[in-house]
């Protein structure tokens, strides 16, 4: 993953277009949106899927609903700390 993986797949605009201010703003907004999604944890399934495809090609991955159940239920046995 590089600098821009926070951005959406396809969030990287072609180089020429980047010079046009309007699409530049749009690209920045899209990037900001992806960062916000990342912070709230909404990208967890995408990250899992991407990792799964790369490391276990051919093995069927968990479905979206199944993944989220498993992902959230881990909290029952692995508590995350919150600070004051």
């Amino acid at each position: 993953m590089t600098a821009d993986t926070g951005a959406a797949p396809g969030g990287r605009a072609p180089l020429g277009a980047l010079r046009r201010p309007l699409s530049r703003i749009r690209a920045a907004l899209r990037e900001g949106w992806q960062i916000a999604r990342g912070i709230t944890g909404e990208r967890a399934y995408e990250i899992y899927l991407e990792h799964h495809r790369r490391t276990h090609p051919g093995v069927p991955a968990m479905g979206e609903r199944e993944f989220w159940r498993w992902y959230v239920d881990r909290g029952d046995t692995h508590p995350g700390s919150r600070c004051c």
Binding site: G6, I39, H51, W68, G75, G80, R82, C83
Partner: protein
């Protein structure tokens, strides 16, 4: 060019600091405080944090981080630095930085400001970053594990006890903040109660209707929450409903205890996870909103730079003089030991490049410090008389606005009963007296700032903003209570598991219920005792919370110093040794005074002796305690609190002595001892180091993207980001 920019930053900072320090008697704008903070942070981040990361820690971007080596797509995976910064900030920042600075404002704005800013630059942010670095070099080991492995079993046990102790005291103090904010307040109580059905709804929505749609669910939750706050205003007017949501202190206390137990045994997806999403959303949103509002309105600070309480130690909010008690009261925002648990928890497993520890560890803590500065501003924009009327213990104020106004005026801050009445009316509360704990004061200050902004758009809505801010703090606190009870429970299960095996099985229900009940009983006892303490629970317990938090910081800094020495970097050990020494002096002085001071306002045992003697003489009231029963309560509370203060001090000494033993051993062995650092594995990833990629970094990113086009990750060649 760069030199010009940094000279300008330094000049702005120096100018703002001199205005803060030299103004006497006149009211100054909050702008100076904000500028002093931002300029100092910029310089600290640019120069000191950079020095630490490249010279002291020697971050190495050719080394693969645990996220890269152990990538499993969930717990370990290289995360975009900006996402991780947000994550880490959301995990470290809660109600703490909003509470401490407000209480410390009783000494004026300057002591708090100086400690928040210098403390974060030289101690707090350093601790967070260095712990993050060392944990990252050890596959994300926890602080307790590092203490055990690098110092020894004694240090390890002390760390474990420190964590459990701080957890219990922290939860009790935070829950007490909620009780004090919501007692006799139907509006606040209604909106807080409504967060439970809102969270349950969000949990079910995410589970069954739209799995994974976190943003959407959070947005719905925030809208419902705003409706609940607005609805609170209506409930407050309603004759029947306002009675129904009118809770006394003790009703709320038991409500919270029951809630804490039930919440911590329910599955995470139902209550904790959605509540967490909601708090993260609110946290980032409100912090941004407050920053913008302060910058737009630039309110005037009405509290003086110093009050007499800074020197005479007779402050009504908490007793004791500036040193050491300001440094104990303001923990979160300056130096918070609790953060070391986060820095050695999830974050080190997700970090993409070693050099990013500066932005994530140091940077997030600077941001939290800025939140603390804003809380201080919020406390200082309030009329000082109203500030003291809100923060003094009920026993000292009496029952009426007249007696309260007289008590505050006696302190030297004139306030009229009408002002107290009209302030309460402005936020549509029955009373603002003795709303101790910091949250209501912060909420009032924030409401004044927000309403000044919303008045530009034609509606001041001060009451709405006040309850919005109270709600926002209470929401954090309930999340912390739930999460903290769970963490405490797991630690207890683990410990009891040594005696009785099945205890360790985290899905064994009887064990789960028993340990949850024990943890809840632990903080519940202190909550109940604090709420009913005739001398004021915040006044008595907040110093203990501060001491416990700084004790944990001592553990963290001792581990860092040990690792610096053992890895042959003794000449740089001062980076963590100086804050450790300062922290130890502060904590030990504070504990010493709390245990041995002969002034009954400060020393727990002196206080105890005073009450015991009065009881023996057959007196039926003393100071704020109006009956024999209350006097007995003071005796019990001061005994427990005094013993705790002594235990904390002993723990600090144990850790320091044990760590010093290892330092001597390492120095004798030629300044190097084996540590548990994982060996170097070459990294195949590349990523920028700072928040905003530099021009060179962007060029590298483009090159890598072109070279690795189509690979999806674009992470083919390894590159270093020596910048």
């Amino acid at each position: 060019m760069r030199v010009v920019v940094w000279t300008a930053v330094a000049l702005v900072g120096a100018g703002a600091w001199s205005v803060l320090a030299l103004s006497r008697g006149e009211e100054i704008s909050a702008a100076w405080l904000i500028f002093a903070a931002l300029a100092s942070y910029a310089i600290g981040y640019r120069f000191y944090a950079r020095f630490i990361s490249y010279r002291v820690l020697r971050v190495d971007d050719t080394r693969a981080t645990p996220a890269e080596r152990l990538n499993n797509g969930t717990d370990f995976h290289p995360t975009d630095r900006r996402v991780l910064y947000g994550h880490h900030f959301a995990a470290i920042a809660g109600a703490g930085p909003l509470v401490g600075p407000v209480l410390a404002a009783q000494m004026g704005y300057l002591p708090g400001t100086i400690w928040i800013i210098l403390g974060v630059i030289f101690a707090g942010a350093v601790q967070d970053m260095v712990v993050l670095f060392f944990s990252m070099r050890r596959d994300g080991r926890s602080l307790g594990q590092m203490a055990r492995e690098e110092i020894g079993p004694v240090g390890g046990v002390a760390a474990l006890v420190a964590v459990l102790a701080i957890m219990v005291i922290l939860l009790a103090v935070l829950a007490m903040v909620v009780v004090n904010a919501l007692a006799d307040s139907p509006w606040g109580a209604f909106s807080l109660v409504m967060t439970i059905p809102i969270a349950l709804f969000m949990g079910c929505y995410l589970r069954y209707l739209r799995p994974g749609r976190v943003m959407e669910t959070s947005a719905i939750g925030v809208v419902l929450l705003l409706l609940a706050i607005a609805g609170g205003g209506w409930v407050n007017e309603h004759p029947v409903l306002s009675e129904l949501f009118h809770f006394s202190h003790n009703e709320l206390t038991f409500g919270l205890i029951i809630y804490g137990f039930v919440a911590s045994v329910l599955p995470v997806w139902l209550l904790l996870a959605p509540r967490d999403y909601l708090s993260t959303f609110m946290k980032v949103g409100v912090v941004a909103l407050l920053a913008v509002s302060i910058i737009v309105t630039m309110p005037t600070l009405r509290l003086p730079a110093f009050t007499d309480f800074a020197f005479n130690g007779e402050g009504p909010v908490f007793a004791g003089s500036l040193f050491p008690f300001v440094f104990i009261t303001i923990a979160c925002g300056a130096l918070s030991g609790f953060h070391s648990l986060i820095s050695s928890g999830t974050t080190p497993k997700l970090i993409e490049k070693e050099s990013q520890v500066r932005m994530i560890g140091y940077g997030s803590m600077l941001t939290e410090s800025f939140v603390a500065v804003m809380a201080l501003v919020a406390a200082c924009v309030i009329d000082p008389g109203v500030y003291f009327a809100m923060n003094m213990p009920a026993g000292a104020l009496g029952d009426t606005v007249q007696s309260a106004a007289a008590a505050v005026t006696q302190l030297g801050f004139t306030v009229t009963p009408e002002t107290l009445q009209s302030t309460a009316a402005m936020i549509e509360e029955n009373s603002v007296l003795a709303r101790t704990g910091g949250a209501p004061t912060f909420a009032l200050g924030a409401a004044l700032i927000f309403s000044e902004v919303s008045a530009i758009f034609g509606a001041a809505m001060t009451a709405f903003w006040y309850h919005f801010a109270v709600m926002f703090e209470a929401l954090f606190i309930l999340t912390t209570v739930d999460a903290g009870t769970r963490v405490g429970r797991f630690m207890l299960q683990d410990t009891l598991g040594n005696i009785y095996k099945p205890m360790r099985d985290v899905s064994w229900k009887p064990g789960l219920w028993l340990t949850s009940a024990l943890v809840v009983a632990g903080w519940g006892y202190f909550l109940w005792a604090g709420v009913n303490d005739p001398l004021g629970g915040i006044n008595q317990l907040f110093p203990l919370f501060g001491i416990a938090n700084q004790l944990l910081a001592a553990v963290a800094l001792a581990v860092c110093t040990t690792l610096l020495i053992k890895s042959g970097r003794a000449k740089y050990a001062w980076v963590t040794l100086v804050p450790l020494a300062w922290d130890a002096v502060v904590t030990l002085t504070a504990s010493w005074q709390k245990v041995f001071s002969s002034d009954p306002a400060i020393g727990f045992f002196a206080q105890r002796a005073q009450y015991v003697e009065a009881l023996e003489n057959g007196e039926t009231s003393l100071g704020a305690a109006q009956s024999v029963e209350q006097m007995r309560q003071v005796v019990v509370n001061t005994t427990v609190d005094g013993i705790l203060a002594a235990v904390f001090a002993l723990l600090v000494i144990v850790i320091l002595v044990d760590a010093a033993r290892v330092w001597v051993k390492a120095l004798r062995a030629g300044g190097r001892l084996p540590t548990t650092e994982t060996p170097h594995v070459p990294s195949r990833l590349w990523a920028p180091s700072g928040l905003i990629a530099t021009r060179e970094e962007r060029a590298t990113a483009r090159q890598l993207a072109e070279a690795g086009a189509g690979s999806g990750t674009g992470a083919e060649p390894a590159g270093t980001a020596e910048r």
